[in-house]
Subunit: 229 residues, 2 copies
Protein backbone atom coordinates (compact mmCIF):
# COMPACT_ATOMS: atom_id res chain seq x y z
CA UNK A 1 0.00 0.00 0.00
CA UNK A 2 0.84 3.63 0.15
CA UNK A 3 2.06 3.77 -3.37
CA UNK A 4 4.64 6.10 -4.67
CA UNK A 5 3.09 9.51 -4.80
CA UNK A 6 5.42 10.82 -7.43
CA UNK A 7 5.13 14.39 -6.38
CA UNK A 8 5.28 15.84 -9.85
CA UNK A 9 2.85 18.22 -8.33
CA UNK A 10 1.88 20.47 -11.13
CA UNK A 11 1.50 24.17 -10.85
CA UNK A 12 -0.77 25.11 -8.05
CA UNK A 13 -3.76 27.33 -8.54
CA UNK A 14 -2.36 30.80 -8.70
CA UNK A 15 -3.91 34.13 -9.49
CA UNK A 16 -2.71 35.63 -12.72
CA UNK A 17 -3.37 32.48 -14.68
CA UNK A 18 -6.95 33.47 -15.05
CA UNK A 19 -7.83 34.17 -18.64
CA UNK A 20 -9.26 37.67 -19.15
CA UNK A 21 -12.68 36.55 -20.25
CA UNK A 22 -15.10 39.29 -19.22
CA UNK A 23 -18.39 37.79 -20.39
CA UNK A 24 -20.93 37.25 -17.60
CA UNK A 25 -22.02 33.75 -16.70
CA UNK A 26 -24.98 32.91 -18.86
CA UNK A 27 -25.81 29.34 -18.16
CA UNK A 28 -25.33 29.09 -14.44
CA UNK A 29 -22.65 27.01 -12.85
CA UNK A 30 -21.69 24.98 -15.86
CA UNK A 31 -20.36 28.16 -17.36
CA UNK A 32 -18.74 29.38 -14.19
CA UNK A 33 -15.92 27.04 -14.88
CA UNK A 34 -15.65 28.12 -18.48
CA UNK A 35 -15.64 31.75 -17.52
CA UNK A 36 -13.74 31.78 -14.28
CA UNK A 37 -11.80 28.56 -14.21
CA UNK A 38 -8.11 28.46 -14.97
CA UNK A 39 -6.82 25.30 -16.63
CA UNK A 40 -4.57 23.04 -14.63
CA UNK A 41 -2.58 20.08 -15.82
CA UNK A 42 -1.88 17.38 -13.31
CA UNK A 43 0.51 14.53 -13.97
CA UNK A 44 -0.39 10.92 -13.32
CA UNK A 45 -0.23 10.15 -9.59
CA UNK A 46 0.23 13.77 -8.64
CA UNK A 47 -1.80 15.05 -5.73
CA UNK A 48 -4.43 17.70 -6.38
CA UNK A 49 -5.20 18.33 -2.75
CA UNK A 50 -4.67 16.50 0.48
CA UNK A 51 -6.98 15.51 3.26
CA UNK A 52 -7.08 18.28 5.82
CA UNK A 53 -5.99 21.04 3.49
CA UNK A 54 -8.18 24.12 3.33
CA UNK A 55 -10.88 23.56 0.74
CA UNK A 56 -10.28 26.67 -1.27
CA UNK A 57 -11.11 25.52 -4.78
CA UNK A 58 -13.67 23.48 -6.59
CA UNK A 59 -12.50 21.50 -9.60
CA UNK A 60 -13.95 20.12 -12.75
CA UNK A 61 -12.38 17.32 -14.75
CA UNK A 62 -11.80 18.24 -18.39
CA UNK A 63 -9.84 15.17 -19.38
CA UNK A 64 -8.23 12.33 -17.46
CA UNK A 65 -9.38 10.73 -14.22
CA UNK A 66 -9.16 11.56 -10.55
CA UNK A 67 -9.49 9.42 -7.44
CA UNK A 68 -10.47 10.69 -4.01
CA UNK A 69 -9.57 8.56 -1.03
CA UNK A 70 -8.77 8.25 2.62
CA UNK A 71 -5.99 6.29 4.21
CA UNK A 72 -6.37 4.41 7.47
CA UNK A 73 -3.48 4.56 9.88
CA UNK A 74 -2.16 1.18 8.79
CA UNK A 75 -2.12 2.04 5.11
CA UNK A 76 -5.44 0.59 4.02
CA UNK A 77 -6.91 2.87 1.45
CA UNK A 78 -10.56 3.48 0.70
CA UNK A 79 -11.19 5.16 -2.61
CA UNK A 80 -14.45 7.05 -2.32
CA UNK A 81 -14.89 8.07 -5.93
CA UNK A 82 -13.48 8.14 -9.42
CA UNK A 83 -14.03 11.44 -11.17
CA UNK A 84 -14.38 11.35 -14.93
CA UNK A 85 -14.46 14.19 -17.45
CA UNK A 86 -17.37 16.48 -16.67
CA UNK A 87 -17.40 15.60 -12.99
CA UNK A 88 -17.00 18.31 -10.39
CA UNK A 89 -15.22 17.64 -7.11
CA UNK A 90 -13.78 19.42 -4.12
CA UNK A 91 -17.10 20.11 -2.44
CA UNK A 92 -16.35 17.64 0.33
CA UNK A 93 -15.99 19.38 3.65
CA UNK A 94 -16.76 22.99 4.32
CA UNK A 95 -13.50 24.26 5.73
CA UNK A 96 -11.07 21.58 4.77
CA UNK A 97 -11.02 18.61 2.42
CA UNK A 98 -11.94 15.34 3.97
CA UNK A 99 -10.29 13.34 1.20
CA UNK A 100 -7.12 13.35 -0.79
CA UNK A 101 -7.52 13.85 -4.53
CA UNK A 102 -4.99 12.50 -7.02
CA UNK A 103 -4.82 12.22 -10.76
CA UNK A 104 -4.94 8.60 -11.90
CA UNK A 105 -3.77 9.51 -15.39
CA UNK A 106 -2.47 12.76 -16.78
CA UNK A 107 -5.39 15.04 -16.20
CA UNK A 108 -6.59 18.49 -17.12
CA UNK A 109 -8.79 20.33 -14.69
CA UNK A 110 -10.35 23.71 -14.36
CA UNK A 111 -10.82 25.17 -10.94
CA UNK A 112 -12.74 27.99 -9.38
CA UNK A 113 -12.46 29.63 -6.03
CA UNK A 114 -15.10 28.21 -3.81
CA UNK A 115 -15.84 31.67 -2.47
CA UNK A 116 -16.44 32.91 -6.01
CA UNK A 117 -18.92 30.12 -6.53
CA UNK A 118 -20.83 30.75 -3.33
CA UNK A 119 -20.84 34.47 -4.00
CA UNK A 120 -22.25 33.80 -7.42
CA UNK A 121 -24.80 31.42 -5.97
CA UNK A 122 -25.97 34.09 -3.57
CA UNK A 123 -26.83 36.33 -6.50
CA UNK A 124 -27.85 33.79 -9.07
CA UNK A 125 -30.51 31.31 -8.04
CA UNK A 126 -29.69 29.09 -10.95
CA UNK A 127 -26.11 28.71 -9.83
CA UNK A 128 -27.31 27.95 -6.34
CA UNK A 129 -29.55 25.34 -7.83
CA UNK A 130 -26.70 23.77 -9.73
CA UNK A 131 -24.57 23.69 -6.62
CA UNK A 132 -27.36 22.01 -4.77
CA UNK A 133 -27.83 19.49 -7.52
CA UNK A 134 -24.15 18.67 -7.51
CA UNK A 135 -24.08 18.17 -3.77
CA UNK A 136 -27.14 15.95 -4.08
CA UNK A 137 -25.40 13.93 -6.78
CA UNK A 138 -22.40 13.48 -4.49
CA UNK A 139 -24.69 12.27 -1.77
CA UNK A 140 -26.44 9.87 -4.07
CA UNK A 141 -23.13 8.43 -5.19
CA UNK A 142 -21.95 8.06 -1.62
CA UNK A 143 -25.15 6.23 -0.75
CA UNK A 144 -24.84 3.92 -3.74
CA UNK A 145 -21.28 3.19 -2.82
CA UNK A 146 -22.28 2.50 0.76
CA UNK A 147 -24.79 -0.02 -0.47
CA UNK A 148 -22.17 -1.62 -2.64
CA UNK A 149 -19.70 -1.97 0.20
CA UNK A 150 -22.20 -3.13 2.74
CA UNK A 151 -23.25 -6.65 2.08
CA UNK A 152 -22.21 -7.64 -1.37
CA UNK A 153 -20.09 -10.48 -2.65
CA UNK A 154 -17.00 -9.92 -4.74
CA UNK A 155 -18.93 -10.79 -7.88
CA UNK A 156 -21.70 -8.38 -7.05
CA UNK A 157 -19.22 -5.60 -6.38
CA UNK A 158 -17.40 -6.15 -9.63
CA UNK A 159 -20.67 -6.32 -11.52
CA UNK A 160 -21.87 -3.09 -9.97
CA UNK A 161 -18.56 -1.45 -10.73
CA UNK A 162 -18.52 -2.49 -14.36
CA UNK A 163 -22.09 -1.39 -14.89
CA UNK A 164 -21.35 1.94 -13.23
CA UNK A 165 -18.38 2.43 -15.48
CA UNK A 166 -20.04 1.67 -18.81
CA UNK A 167 -22.88 3.91 -17.87
CA UNK A 168 -20.67 6.82 -16.89
CA UNK A 169 -18.53 6.35 -19.96
CA UNK A 170 -21.75 6.60 -21.93
CA UNK A 171 -20.89 3.40 -23.68
CA UNK A 172 -23.15 0.46 -24.19
CA UNK A 173 -20.94 -2.54 -23.72
CA UNK A 174 -17.24 -1.75 -23.64
CA UNK A 175 -15.21 0.07 -21.02
CA UNK A 176 -11.64 1.24 -21.05
CA UNK A 177 -10.76 1.31 -17.43
CA UNK A 178 -8.45 4.19 -16.65
CA UNK A 179 -7.49 2.78 -13.26
CA UNK A 180 -5.36 -0.12 -12.07
CA UNK A 181 -6.60 -3.26 -10.39
CA UNK A 182 -5.35 -1.87 -7.12
CA UNK A 183 -7.51 1.19 -7.56
CA UNK A 184 -10.50 -0.96 -8.33
CA UNK A 185 -9.77 -3.12 -5.30
CA UNK A 186 -9.52 -0.13 -3.00
CA UNK A 187 -12.73 1.28 -4.42
CA UNK A 188 -14.65 -1.94 -3.93
CA UNK A 189 -13.17 -2.96 -0.60
CA UNK A 190 -11.48 -6.04 -2.04
CA UNK A 191 -7.93 -7.16 -2.68
CA UNK A 192 -6.27 -6.94 -6.03
CA UNK A 193 -6.18 -10.74 -6.22
CA UNK A 194 -9.89 -11.04 -5.64
CA UNK A 195 -10.57 -8.45 -8.32
CA UNK A 196 -8.41 -10.34 -10.76
CA UNK A 197 -9.89 -13.71 -9.94
CA UNK A 198 -13.43 -12.42 -10.12
CA UNK A 199 -12.80 -10.91 -13.52
CA UNK A 200 -11.45 -14.20 -14.85
CA UNK A 201 -14.40 -15.95 -13.28
CA UNK A 202 -16.81 -13.68 -15.11
CA UNK A 203 -14.82 -14.13 -18.27
CA UNK A 204 -15.05 -17.92 -17.98
CA UNK A 205 -18.78 -17.56 -17.48
CA UNK A 206 -18.86 -15.60 -20.74
CA UNK A 207 -20.33 -12.67 -18.87
CA UNK A 208 -17.48 -10.40 -19.87
CA UNK A 209 -14.57 -10.42 -22.30
CA UNK A 210 -11.10 -9.12 -21.58
CA UNK A 211 -9.46 -8.08 -24.85
CA UNK A 212 -6.73 -6.48 -22.75
CA UNK A 213 -6.31 -5.94 -19.05
CA UNK A 214 -7.91 -2.54 -19.06
CA UNK A 215 -10.48 -3.08 -21.75
CA UNK A 216 -13.58 -4.98 -20.81
CA UNK A 217 -16.53 -5.90 -22.94
CA UNK A 218 -19.76 -6.61 -21.13
CA UNK A 219 -20.90 -9.55 -23.19
CA UNK A 220 -23.84 -10.33 -20.98
CA UNK A 221 -25.14 -7.24 -19.30
CA UNK A 222 -28.29 -9.00 -18.19
CA UNK A 223 -26.21 -11.41 -16.15
CA UNK A 224 -24.29 -8.53 -14.63
CA UNK A 225 -27.49 -6.72 -13.76
CA UNK A 226 -28.76 -9.83 -12.10
CA UNK A 227 -25.59 -9.90 -10.01
CA UNK A 228 -26.15 -6.28 -9.21
CA UNK A 229 -29.09 -7.48 -7.07
Amino acid sequence: MLKQTIEVRSTRPSAGLRPPVPAPARHALADSFAVMGAPLNVARNAEIYGEGEPAEYVYKVISGVVRTYKLLSDGRRQISAFLLPGDVFGLDGAEEHRFTAEAIADTTLVFVRRSALTALAARDGEVANDLWRMAAADLRRAHEHMLLLGRKSAQERIAAFLLEMVERAEETDTVDLPMSRLDIADYLGLTIETVSRTLTLLENAATIELPSTRRIRLANKAALSRLNA
Copy 2:
Protein backbone atom coordinates in the same frame (compact mmCIF):
# COMPACT_ATOMS: atom_id res chain seq x y z
CA MET B 1 -35.03 -10.75 6.95
CA LEU B 2 -37.86 -8.54 5.92
CA LYS B 3 -39.25 -8.22 9.37
CA GLN B 4 -42.82 -7.60 10.21
CA THR B 5 -43.59 -4.05 9.29
CA ILE B 6 -46.45 -3.71 11.70
CA GLU B 7 -48.25 -1.11 9.74
CA VAL B 8 -49.53 0.85 12.66
CA ARG B 9 -48.85 3.70 10.34
CA SER B 10 -49.65 6.76 12.33
CA THR B 11 -51.58 9.70 11.03
CA ARG B 12 -50.05 11.05 7.88
CA PRO B 13 -49.04 14.62 7.50
CA SER B 14 -52.24 16.50 6.95
CA ALA B 15 -53.03 20.15 6.76
CA GLY B 16 -55.18 21.40 9.58
CA LEU B 17 -52.98 19.88 12.22
CA ARG B 18 -50.70 22.84 11.96
CA PRO B 19 -50.70 24.86 15.15
CA PRO B 20 -51.72 28.48 14.60
CA VAL B 21 -48.38 29.97 15.58
CA PRO B 22 -48.03 33.18 13.59
CA ALA B 23 -44.59 34.34 14.78
CA PRO B 24 -42.02 34.74 12.00
CA ALA B 25 -38.96 32.49 11.94
CA ARG B 26 -36.28 34.19 13.93
CA HIS B 27 -33.42 31.78 14.10
CA ALA B 28 -33.29 30.29 10.66
CA LEU B 29 -34.05 26.69 9.94
CA ALA B 30 -33.87 25.42 13.48
CA ASP B 31 -36.98 27.43 14.18
CA SER B 32 -38.71 26.53 10.97
CA PHE B 33 -39.65 23.26 12.54
CA ALA B 34 -40.84 24.88 15.71
CA VAL B 35 -42.92 27.37 13.80
CA MET B 36 -44.15 25.38 10.88
CA GLY B 37 -43.79 21.79 11.88
CA ALA B 38 -46.75 19.71 12.93
CA PRO B 39 -46.08 16.98 15.50
CA LEU B 40 -46.33 13.38 14.38
CA ASN B 41 -46.27 10.27 16.51
CA VAL B 42 -45.00 7.13 14.90
CA ALA B 43 -45.27 3.73 16.50
CA ARG B 44 -42.35 1.36 16.76
CA ASN B 45 -41.68 -0.33 13.41
CA ALA B 46 -44.10 1.90 11.56
CA GLU B 47 -42.96 3.30 8.24
CA ILE B 48 -42.48 7.04 7.93
CA TYR B 49 -41.91 7.02 4.22
CA GLY B 50 -40.95 4.45 1.65
CA GLU B 51 -38.25 4.32 -0.95
CA GLY B 52 -39.59 5.79 -4.17
CA GLU B 53 -42.32 7.85 -2.58
CA PRO B 54 -42.39 11.54 -3.45
CA ALA B 55 -40.15 13.42 -1.06
CA GLU B 56 -42.67 15.95 0.09
CA TYR B 57 -41.65 16.51 3.68
CA VAL B 58 -38.55 16.97 5.75
CA TYR B 59 -38.59 15.60 9.27
CA LYS B 60 -36.92 16.24 12.55
CA VAL B 61 -36.70 13.73 15.36
CA ILE B 62 -38.05 15.06 18.65
CA SER B 63 -37.87 11.83 20.59
CA GLY B 64 -37.30 8.22 19.66
CA VAL B 65 -35.13 6.81 16.88
CA VAL B 66 -35.47 6.34 13.16
CA ARG B 67 -33.62 4.09 10.73
CA THR B 68 -33.29 4.70 7.00
CA TYR B 69 -32.45 1.76 4.80
CA LYS B 70 -32.55 0.07 1.47
CA LEU B 71 -33.49 -3.50 0.69
CA LEU B 72 -31.76 -5.58 -1.94
CA SER B 73 -33.93 -7.82 -4.04
CA ASP B 74 -33.10 -10.89 -1.97
CA GLY B 75 -33.97 -9.24 1.32
CA ARG B 76 -30.56 -8.10 2.45
CA ARG B 77 -30.98 -4.79 4.17
CA GLN B 78 -28.48 -1.97 4.41
CA ILE B 79 -29.28 0.57 7.06
CA SER B 80 -27.76 3.85 6.01
CA ALA B 81 -28.37 5.86 9.15
CA PHE B 82 -29.85 6.00 12.60
CA LEU B 83 -31.54 9.30 13.35
CA LEU B 84 -31.56 10.44 16.95
CA PRO B 85 -33.42 13.32 18.60
CA GLY B 86 -32.39 16.58 16.98
CA ASP B 87 -31.49 14.95 13.67
CA VAL B 88 -33.18 16.07 10.48
CA PHE B 89 -33.89 13.62 7.68
CA GLY B 90 -35.83 13.30 4.47
CA LEU B 91 -33.44 15.33 2.38
CA ASP B 92 -32.30 12.28 0.46
CA GLY B 93 -33.36 12.50 -3.15
CA ALA B 94 -34.79 15.53 -4.84
CA GLU B 95 -38.01 14.16 -6.26
CA GLU B 96 -38.46 10.95 -4.40
CA HIS B 97 -36.95 9.30 -1.35
CA ARG B 98 -34.13 6.94 -2.02
CA PHE B 99 -34.52 5.20 1.32
CA THR B 100 -37.23 3.87 3.49
CA ALA B 101 -37.57 5.48 6.92
CA GLU B 102 -39.02 3.62 9.89
CA ALA B 103 -39.32 4.31 13.57
CA ILE B 104 -37.19 1.94 15.63
CA ALA B 105 -38.99 2.85 18.82
CA ASP B 106 -42.10 4.92 19.40
CA THR B 107 -41.06 8.23 17.98
CA THR B 108 -42.24 11.80 17.82
CA LEU B 109 -41.34 13.86 14.80
CA VAL B 110 -42.07 17.27 13.44
CA PHE B 111 -42.25 17.73 9.72
CA VAL B 112 -42.22 20.59 7.29
CA ARG B 113 -43.14 20.76 3.67
CA ARG B 114 -39.97 20.65 1.68
CA SER B 115 -41.32 23.36 -0.59
CA ALA B 116 -41.88 25.61 2.40
CA LEU B 117 -38.29 25.11 3.41
CA THR B 118 -36.86 25.85 0.01
CA ALA B 119 -39.13 28.86 -0.37
CA LEU B 120 -37.89 30.12 2.95
CA ALA B 121 -34.31 29.42 1.95
CA ALA B 122 -34.75 31.49 -1.19
CA ARG B 123 -35.64 34.50 0.92
CA ASP B 124 -33.55 33.88 4.00
CA GLY B 125 -29.86 33.27 3.43
CA GLU B 126 -29.46 31.92 6.90
CA VAL B 127 -31.99 29.20 6.27
CA ALA B 128 -30.28 28.39 3.00
CA ASN B 129 -27.07 28.13 4.93
CA ASP B 130 -28.60 25.78 7.44
CA LEU B 131 -29.97 23.60 4.69
CA TRP B 132 -26.57 23.47 3.11
CA ARG B 133 -24.95 22.60 6.40
CA MET B 134 -27.41 19.78 6.94
CA ALA B 135 -26.81 18.35 3.50
CA ALA B 136 -23.08 18.57 4.12
CA ALA B 137 -23.51 16.75 7.41
CA ASP B 138 -25.42 14.01 5.59
CA LEU B 139 -22.63 13.70 3.11
CA ARG B 140 -20.00 13.55 5.82
CA ARG B 141 -21.91 10.80 7.58
CA ALA B 142 -22.29 8.85 4.35
CA HIS B 143 -18.57 9.13 3.73
CA GLU B 144 -17.72 8.00 7.24
CA HIS B 145 -20.05 5.10 6.88
CA MET B 146 -18.52 4.20 3.54
CA LEU B 147 -15.11 4.09 5.17
CA LEU B 148 -16.46 1.91 7.92
CA LEU B 149 -18.00 -0.56 5.51
CA GLY B 150 -15.08 -0.65 3.15
CA ARG B 151 -12.18 -2.46 4.66
CA LYS B 152 -12.76 -2.91 8.31
CA SER B 153 -12.87 -5.99 10.47
CA ALA B 154 -15.87 -6.84 12.62
CA GLN B 155 -14.10 -5.53 15.70
CA GLU B 156 -13.26 -2.28 14.01
CA ARG B 157 -16.82 -1.82 12.85
CA ILE B 158 -18.24 -2.45 16.29
CA ALA B 159 -15.69 -0.14 17.87
CA ALA B 160 -16.51 2.62 15.41
CA PHE B 161 -20.21 2.10 15.97
CA LEU B 162 -19.97 2.25 19.75
CA LEU B 163 -17.82 5.35 19.67
CA GLU B 164 -20.22 6.99 17.26
CA MET B 165 -23.11 6.19 19.53
CA VAL B 166 -21.64 7.48 22.79
CA GLU B 167 -20.61 10.63 21.05
CA ARG B 168 -24.00 11.25 19.53
CA ALA B 169 -25.74 10.45 22.79
CA GLU B 170 -23.48 13.09 24.34
CA GLU B 171 -22.44 10.59 26.93
CA THR B 172 -18.94 9.84 28.03
CA ASP B 173 -18.89 6.12 28.56
CA THR B 174 -22.30 4.50 28.60
CA VAL B 175 -24.77 3.96 25.76
CA ASP B 176 -28.31 2.75 25.80
CA LEU B 177 -28.72 1.31 22.37
CA PRO B 178 -32.21 1.92 21.05
CA MET B 179 -31.81 -0.62 18.27
CA SER B 180 -31.69 -4.39 18.07
CA ARG B 181 -28.66 -6.50 17.18
CA LEU B 182 -30.20 -7.04 13.79
CA ASP B 183 -30.33 -3.31 13.20
CA ILE B 184 -26.72 -2.96 14.26
CA ALA B 185 -25.73 -5.84 11.99
CA ASP B 186 -27.50 -4.33 9.01
CA TYR B 187 -25.92 -0.98 9.72
CA LEU B 188 -22.41 -2.42 9.93
CA GLY B 189 -22.69 -4.93 7.13
CA LEU B 190 -22.33 -7.90 9.48
CA THR B 191 -24.56 -10.70 10.68
CA ILE B 192 -26.34 -10.61 13.97
CA GLU B 193 -24.19 -13.50 15.18
CA THR B 194 -20.97 -11.69 14.40
CA VAL B 195 -22.20 -8.61 16.22
CA SER B 196 -23.04 -10.70 19.24
CA ARG B 197 -19.79 -12.59 19.18
CA THR B 198 -17.74 -9.46 18.74
CA LEU B 199 -19.45 -7.80 21.67
CA THR B 200 -18.69 -10.75 23.93
CA LEU B 201 -15.15 -10.73 22.65
CA LEU B 202 -14.75 -7.08 23.59
CA GLU B 203 -16.37 -7.79 26.92
CA ASN B 204 -13.91 -10.60 27.62
CA ALA B 205 -11.10 -8.23 26.72
CA ALA B 206 -12.51 -5.83 29.34
CA THR B 207 -12.90 -3.22 26.63
CA ILE B 208 -16.61 -2.93 27.24
CA GLU B 209 -19.15 -4.04 29.84
CA LEU B 210 -22.64 -5.31 29.10
CA PRO B 211 -24.86 -4.65 32.12
CA SER B 212 -27.79 -5.60 29.93
CA THR B 213 -28.11 -6.41 26.27
CA ARG B 214 -28.86 -2.87 25.22
CA ARG B 215 -26.73 -1.05 27.73
CA ILE B 216 -23.05 -0.89 27.06
CA ARG B 217 -20.33 0.73 29.09
CA LEU B 218 -17.18 1.64 27.25
CA ALA B 219 -14.71 0.61 29.90
CA ASN B 220 -11.67 1.19 27.72
CA LYS B 221 -12.31 3.88 25.19
CA ALA B 222 -8.64 4.10 24.32
CA ALA B 223 -8.68 0.50 23.17
CA LEU B 224 -11.80 1.16 21.12
CA SER B 225 -10.23 4.20 19.53
CA ARG B 226 -7.20 2.13 18.66
CA LEU B 227 -9.50 -0.35 16.95
CA ASN B 228 -11.14 2.54 15.15
CA ALA B 229 -7.86 2.79 13.16
